[in-house]
Amino acid sequence: MREQTAEAPAVPTDGTTAQPSATVGPWSSYASMVRWNVAQVGSMLPLVVVVQAVLAAGIIVGFGLVIPDIDPATALYLSTGAPTVLLMVVGLVIVPQGVARARTDGTFVFLRTLPVPRLTLLLADLTVWLLVALPSVAVAVLVGELRFDLALSPDWPVLLVATVLVTVTATSVGYAVAVTLPPVLAQLVSQVLVFFVMLFSPLTFPATQLPAWFRTVHEWLPVQPAGDLLRAGLASEVYSADARDVAVLAVWCVVGVLLSLRALVRRG
């Protein structure tokens, strides 16, 4: 899934200045692209954090209103599900919208004309979206703490791995949606995904409330494993996750990355 490359002609020593300067190291390319992307989304970052806070409040406070006399266990379930909702919304909604805009305004084509390997372009993009998404967990936990007196028991290694894996998976799947479908359709799909994640996924309510067939569907989709994994990282004394959750997420992650890479490499 990478473009074929050949050795560039050696740089002549006759002093001509029209030859390429030097082979660019992968790290240098990556760092430059991350700087580029950070500058582009930088102005948007505070807004994204505000949106995340509002969403978190909507889920934790709003859903809390729907359930009268909420007990501590339900409050914990709701609050530990909220970070996953936020990460999924960033990955499956904000990322596709950003990428769809880049495709419409020419940024996507411009980036692909640069002397940068496609994989580096994708990794730099994913890195920046990871930075955008990461505050979600902290924001959601903070809102949960403010609303309910939560008894969290973080398992830091699990929490860290879960956060990164869930974010990269959601982001790469969102990216794949955005680069595989036509821009208008991608935006539409991302809107539908918001509802699916917020209302029809066992993140803010237990999976047992779903019909059996829908529970089976969710076992193969990335949303529930993501929720279970993050929950186990935030409240390790109450919830647990298993290797299957990691495996399902990893498969979705790889599929997302491969589809994105294919779209970047493809020549019409």
């Binding site: 990478r2 473009e3 074929q4 490359t5 050949a6 050795e7 560039a8 002609p9 001509t16 200045t17 029209a18 030859q19 390429p20 300067s21 030097a22 082979t23 660019v24 240098s28 390319s29 430059s32 692209m33 700087r35 580029w36 500058a39 582009q40 989304v41 930088g42 102005s43 880049a102 305004d105 020419g106 940024t107 084509v109 411009f110 692909r112 004309t113 640069l114 002397p115 940068v116 390997p117 496609r118 020549r267 019409g268």
Partner: protein
Amino acid sequence: MSDDVLVVEGVTKRFGAVTANAAISIRVRAGEVVGLLGHNGAGKTTLVSQIVGLLRPDAGEIRVAGVDAVAHPGTARRLVALQAQGQVPLDGLTPRTAVELAGRLRGLPRREARRAAERLAVELDITEWIDQRALPEGRGLSGGVRRLAGFAMTVAAPAPLVVLDEPTNDVDAARRRRLWDAVRRLRDRGAGVLLVTHNVLEAEKVVDDLVVLDRGQVVAAGSPARLASGLDDGLRLEVTLPPGGDDPTPDVPFAVRQRVRAGRRVLLVVPADEASPAVTWAASLRDTGVVDGYTLGPATLEDAYLALTESTGAAGDELTEVTSHA
């Protein structure tokens, strides 16, 4: 080693039933500026997209500085610096940062990239805006400064082949001149430049060779002087019609080699020895009010270009645009 930095050989690209490029062959040598001229939709940008590996040709061969760009697009991209027709996505960046990053991506050490940004800002006279951030919706920096920053990004680091697609769009006259000077310096340093444009008057000032594309085909190639001489000793008689007036030019009492109409203006290319009857005819029509005015002068490259591409029917539209720069 050959000094060809770009060899396009028989490149054909189809989109469904539309043939955007039909067996196109072009050559750019080191230290040479080649203009690729053509109307909108002639297939210029499609060709450029294939050179940088965004599109794959259906047939033909593309070599960039000796590298097979069809088989190894990633390697070819390191040897081509492209300023695309669309604006560079600068939002959130200052021209200084953008040029430095572009230089770094092409392998310039940090310090050299910084120096390149400063040097180019002086050369293009945009130092005033070098630290001003471009903002979304075209705020922060004007279109002209964005375009010049895009040019600076393209040439910040040396590349064997530089492709410029309409680099002077939105740029004011004084800075256009500076940009053309910078292009000449690129050439003098040994880069091959492919200049894609539909503005024949600008191209004439800077190119060594021209390739004219029409409906995806190369209809002429050679130096500007050679192309212009295709009209031999022709003269151009330009007649301006009154609003709503009938066009008297299909029926003239002298020989006409080419006739192109654009709105109220009609361009006639006439042999030099027909100058006298042509002027007499035009003067009498002006006196009787059939035409608003006329001018007579030597036929130019622009006339040759229009004659070459007239068959498309788009020439009329283009004439208006081209002559407005005269």
